[in-house]
């Protein structure tokens, strides 16, 4: 259960240009407040600055202007209170599944028995039982991302930052992963910032969807999802779901077109 409020205030990011090219403005001043335990999906066309925003919250990148605060405390560097799952596969190839999951716990210096107990719990919750001693190379893409999720969760972060974690997976695996994530969120109620291209995915998971404009990104719409939890896949066929989907598609169509023309 998360307790801290995340505040993104006037966060702007421009990347310095190279050679003759001028600087790239990736993110216009952006404001977003996320209450403890909220599941916010960030939806936007490619290149609109979603990863940039998430990286700034993680502390992996610094805003050109503005600030990110967690319960009033400024975020200036990455830390274990903001766990992240990346778009690409980032398991440590030299560590087994169980060792990957224990990485953060070891860094914190927890006693070995406790590390093993926590790792074991998340191995079970992410359905990786039987694969504890496999190397990442021996896992399918879906399993790798489940392990990455377990690795982030094992650290018990305040906020979970998910940057298109299922983007590279096939449709069926993706739906299973969504259900798994939903189950975990319903049980733990951790604050989640979830970046995606996929409207269905955003509605199915989040209780709030933030739509970003084409680059330079800014928040174009902030829509509550009026569907109750616990949710399951049958939700995707309800009229409420369809109405919301139509609305978000309208919001995002123009942006995708703009992004494609740019």
């Amino acid at each position: 259960m998360s307790r801290k409020t995340l505040r993104i205030a006037g966060v702007t990011r421009s990347f310095p240009g190279r050679g003759k090219a001028g600087p790239t403005l990736a993110l216009q001043p952006t404001d977003l407040t996320v209450q403890p335990g909220e599941f916010v999906a960030i939806l936007g066309p490619s290149g609109c600055g979603k990863s940039t925003l998430l990286r700034i919250v993680a502390g992996l990148d610094r805003p050109t202007a503005g600030a990110v605060t967690l319960d009033g405390v400024a975020v200036t560097a990455p830390g274990p209170d903001r766990g992240m799952v990346f778009q690409s596969y980032t398991l440590f190839p030299w560590l087994t599944v169980a060792q990957n999951i224990r990485f953060g716990l070891e860094e914190r210096g927890l006693p070995l028995a406790e590390q093993a107990a926590i790792a074991d719990r998340f191995i079970a919750r992410t359905g990786l039982r039987g694969f504890e001693n496999h190397w990442p190379r021996q896992l399918s893409g879906g399993m790798q991302q489940r392990c990455a999720l377990a690795r982030a969760l094992a650290n018990d972060p305040e906020i979970l930052l998910l940057d298109e974690p299922f983007g590279a997976l096939d449709h069926q695996t993706r739906e299973l992963m969504q259900e798994l994530l939903l189950e975990i969120w319903e049980a733990d109620r951790k604050t989640v910032l979830f970046v995606t291209h996929d409207i269905d995915e955003a509605i199915f998971l989040a209780n709030r969807v933030v739509v970003m404009s084409a680059r330079p990104g800014r928040i174009k719409a902030d829509v509550a999802v009026p569907l109750s939890y616990p949710r399951d896949w049958t939700m995707k066929t309800t009229p409420d779901f369809a109405t919301l989907k139509a609305r978000l598609m309208g919001e995002i169509r123009d942006e995708v077109r703009k992004a494609a023309m740019a």
Binding site: P78, T90, P93, F103, E107, R108, A148
Partner: protein, 257 residues
């Protein structure tokens, strides 16, 4: 044959051994037929006979041992200092900025050109031999290890940061393990080069070692002994290469899946 399709272990052994057989056959044909006179090139059987007498009558095993000691000794000293320095340079850019220009310069200095100077400084004893190997391998190790460590996948470093790692943890738990297999591969290559330096060092001002024996044999125009010496070096290289590869597979099973 299709590009990049692996061969079975059996076929690999047969093909690899096949070339050796062919090589010896051509060598035998050239010498036994009298096409190349023994003064220039001994035949395979005479080479073996020369080798046998070297080992049994002239204590060549001792020469082999001392040469191995020199190569491995100089190489280990170079690795023991060069690997940590290279890792630090790869990980910390100010350290790299400080050492890199000098190391890049020094690695083009030919180790063999230092031999006269080293004899002046260190005499003709073991210190001089070890120094030649050291100079020849140290700068290569440093520059290549720095490059490997500097090439650590940034997304893995960032993942470690979000899991709570700090500079120390990044170095110890990300940069070093991710660089380790390639560093071992580099050491394997550099050990191969170290062999060429040691022979040169032994050609000048040495009283023992494989290189010294080859030099002596030249005086006697004994091409059998010379070739046997060269073959021994090749065999030792083959064995160390094999050991290195086996060690790599044992140490880094994750890298060779």
């Amino acid at each position: 044959m299709k590009p990049l399709v692996p061969v079975s272990t059996g076929a690999r052994i047969i093909l690899g051994a096949g070339f050796f057989v062919m090589f010896v056959a051509v060598w035998g044909a050239a010498t036994w037929s009298g096409w190349v006179p023994p003064l220039f090139l001994a035949s395979p059987d005479r080479t073996l006979a020369a080798g046998w007498s070297l080992l049994t009558e002239f204590g060549f095993a001792g020469d082999i041992a001392i040469t191995i000691f020199r190569v491995v000794g100089g190489f280990l000293i170079a690795a023991a200092i060069g690997v940590p320095l290279g890792l630090m340079m790869g990980a910390f850019k100010p350290i790299e900025a400080f050492f890199e220009p000098f190391v890049s310069f020094a690695r083009y200095l030919p180790a063999s050109a230092f031999i006269p100077l080293l004899i002046l400084w260190a005499g003709v004893g073991e210190a001089q031999k070890l120094s030649v190997i050291f100079i020849g391998s140290f700068f290569q190790v440093v520059i290549m290890v720095a490059l490997i460590a500097g090439g650590t996948r940034m997304d893995l470093v960032e993942a470690a940061y979000t899991l709570g790692a700090r500079s120390r943890g990044i170095l110890r738990r990300v940069i070093i393990p991710s660089a380790a297999p390639q560093v071992m591969e580099t050491l394997r290559l550099v050990l191969g080069w170290a062999w060429t330096y040691v022979i040169v060092a032994e050609l000048i001002g040495a009283t023992s070692g494989i290189g010294h024996m080859i030099m002596d044999s030249q005086r006697l125009l004994d091409t059998g002994q010379m070739i046997f010496g060269i073959v021994v070096i090749g065999l030792i290289g083959l064995i160390t290469d094999f050991l290195f590869k086996a060690l790599n597979r044992a140490l880094f099973p994750w890298a060779s899946l």
